[in-house]
Amino acid sequence: MSETPQARVAAALERIPYARFLGLRAELKGDELTLVMPFSDHLVGNPLLPALHGGVVGALMEVTALTQLAIASKSERFPKTIDIGIDYLRSGKPIDTFARARVVKIGRRVANVQAEAWQGEKNQPIATLHGHFMTPEGEESAAS
């Protein structure tokens, strides 16, 4: 209980094998989370350019959205994804990628979250995501 939120988020990510597979790292300032995906050769989707695979850019934004929502809803567990929409704006260069998410609304059962991924400049996003996620309360009512 004496753990800082930063440590809790980092520890929660550390426990997810797929987050380690992507090499994700969390940076938390106040309640604002930035996830970093350092470049690695296995993340490439097009070796000619080379460009990151769209799937891992989407995955980075989805994990960011899930983590930011867990922080916002003060939950220890990650929510379940209902649906996500991803727009690809620029090809991902072979450099580090960052993502941040904004919880638009937490309803009784469903939460709405938006996320963005960028590389060099934050005002030039390479992709955006919007998604709906089941709140912990929504999951309980779905289970009963």
Binding site: Y18, H42, N46, L49, L52, V56, I82, D83, G85, Y88
Partner: protein, 167 residues
């Protein structure tokens, strides 16, 4: 204008066998290889594939369910190959957007299968949908609908993303 080497023709255009062609395309994609993606069957505009269950791809350590991101990469890749499989002359494609609906969690310990169908191949855009499942497509894990830009590497030089100048 420049002396730089243009991107070579796509290596997966080399074979006459369509299945071998898309398999070469997958081998050519590091992230597809990294998640163990295999293409199992191909018909014009349709592709079937599999991602074997693997502990390092788990998204929820409590349940052992595979991460959503793996499904995103799988479906994005297999939809792209379905777009290529719809073409008479294969070329590069780039995802414009995709939307994934999750009907349920994938079953822990089981391979995920998927089938993709390019239901419209235009001159510049391909529209593709796909479902992921363990046994049959009528019990889906997830559904995706996506749009691809066709011939996305046209006019782009090899290693274009390595340059300092903004693209």
């Amino acid at each position: 204008m420049s002396e730089e080497t243009p991107a070579p023709s796509v290596p997966y255009a080399a074979s006459d066998d369509p299945l071998e062609r898309v398999r070469a395309m997958i081998r050519f994609t590091p992230q597809a290889k990294a998640i163990g993606l295999e293409v199992t069957r191909i018909e014009p505009a349709r592709v079937w594939g599999r991602v074997p269950y693997r502990p390092d791809l788990i998204g929820d350590p409590e349940s052992g369910v595979i991460a959503g991101g793996v499904i995103t990469t799988f479906l994005d890749t297999i939809c792209g190959t379905a777009a290529v499989a719809a073409m008479e002359h294969p070329t590069t494609v780039a995802t414009i957007d995709l939307r994934i609906d999750y009907m349920r969690a994938a079953e822990p310990g089981r391979d995920v299968l998927a089938e993709a169908h390019c239901y419209k191949l235009g001159r510049s855009i391909a529209f593709v949908r796909a479902v992921a499942y363990e046994d049959t497509s009528d019990n889906p894990i997830a559904h995706v609908a996506c749009a691809f830009m066709i011939n996305s590497s046209e006019g782009r030089k090899m290693y274009a993303n390595m340059r300092k100048k903004k693209s």
